[in-house]
Subunit: 225 residues, 2 copies
Amino acid sequence: MSVPDKPLNENQAEIAPEFDDEFCAKLDDLFVWRRDVRHFRSQPVSQQLIDELLDAASLAPSVGNSQPWRFVSVEDKRRRAKIREIFTACNREALDDYHGEKAKLYASLKLDGLKQAPVHLAVFVDTSTQSGSGLGRKTMPETLHYSTVLAVHTLWLAARARGIGVGWVSIIDPEEVRDVLNVSKDWELIGYLCVGYPKSDHSIPELIRQGWQDRDTEARILHRR
Amino acid sequence: MSVPDKPLNENQAEIAPEFDDEFCAKLDDLFVWRRDVRHFRSQPVSQQLIDELLDAASLAPSVGNSQPWRFVSVEDKRRRAKIREIFTACNREALDDYHGEKAKLYASLKLDGLKQAPVHLAVFVDTSTQSGSGLGRKTMPETLHYSTVLAVHTLWLAARARGIGVGWVSIIDPEEVRDVLNVSKDWELIGYLCVGYPKSDHSIPELIRQGWQDRDTEARILHRR
């Protein structure tokens, strides 16, 4: 790995910790072993660990430093049951879009861990936030949503490093989820996360292992202009 | 940090590398020291390093394993000049939204590193991709875009670990950028990234240091339902 000269220390630079080759290799391992988990063990996750994950998520980049992410821990049993109902209905409708072998394969996939995961986190973007004063959002307002996605990913990586799995459920009606959780109409659902200790570790995504979708070579091409 | 029992090794589990407390602490450091960089040194970034960043990005989670991210290295001088013109026009328009002290402060901010950054990466989502066969996108089609955001963030973290800074420019007209780069109409711009060695390292976002937007306490609250 090529190493640049020492920083110029302009603009009141601080001295950053060193991230060496060993760390970079381990970080790459983290990317390899981060999975979208749908098979959870029942063992609870401590509140201290959840707090660590939220602390990490709070460090995510955000447009104009707007920090628009809002995390809701879904704990009420009836609310969880309703969320599962929403998923089941949406998943049944989704199945109707497939036919033949693909429909059989779809029906065989486990696409959520809602029943087993000890922790449910619904992540919203607060579209009404004044933080950031709109900086960076005029031409691309969707960056407010993207900022929340960045927070989810930060949480996800921090979780995997601690041995905790995250599964992002998107087969769900976002407005129904918002209603069930009784949050502000200004909050839009970004993702519904199942969180807990995974039953097993994998370096290969489940959708590849199950034969749904392999690596896409086009996704790795660098186009030049 | 609490550690779970050994994995049950169900579903043909592999043995994952261990991510210990030291790695978790260093990963948190990475989140702390990752910045949206606008001050770059002219030193080039090797193609090998860019390839490493793309390899990392390819490991990002994506809805239905659709891998919809498309990376365009913008190298042509005239194209880069046009991108800078687009930014300048959009930034001038954005300034008109502010008044008084806030306008003065906005005008004083450096919101891009387009002129100095040795590498420009335009990141698009390919909305026409068939990969993933639509899985997970029926109720939340925006997850295709979110998947590309996850790839950007993966690249960003891999870059920072290697001492390379990334600055996400969103003050830009996404359709004009697409036209300048002459890519498919099915590709939508997610972000325009400036990439290079930063002039200095910081643990505090520039928009906080410059007095634009402080930490938002609300962003750290865990709501319960």
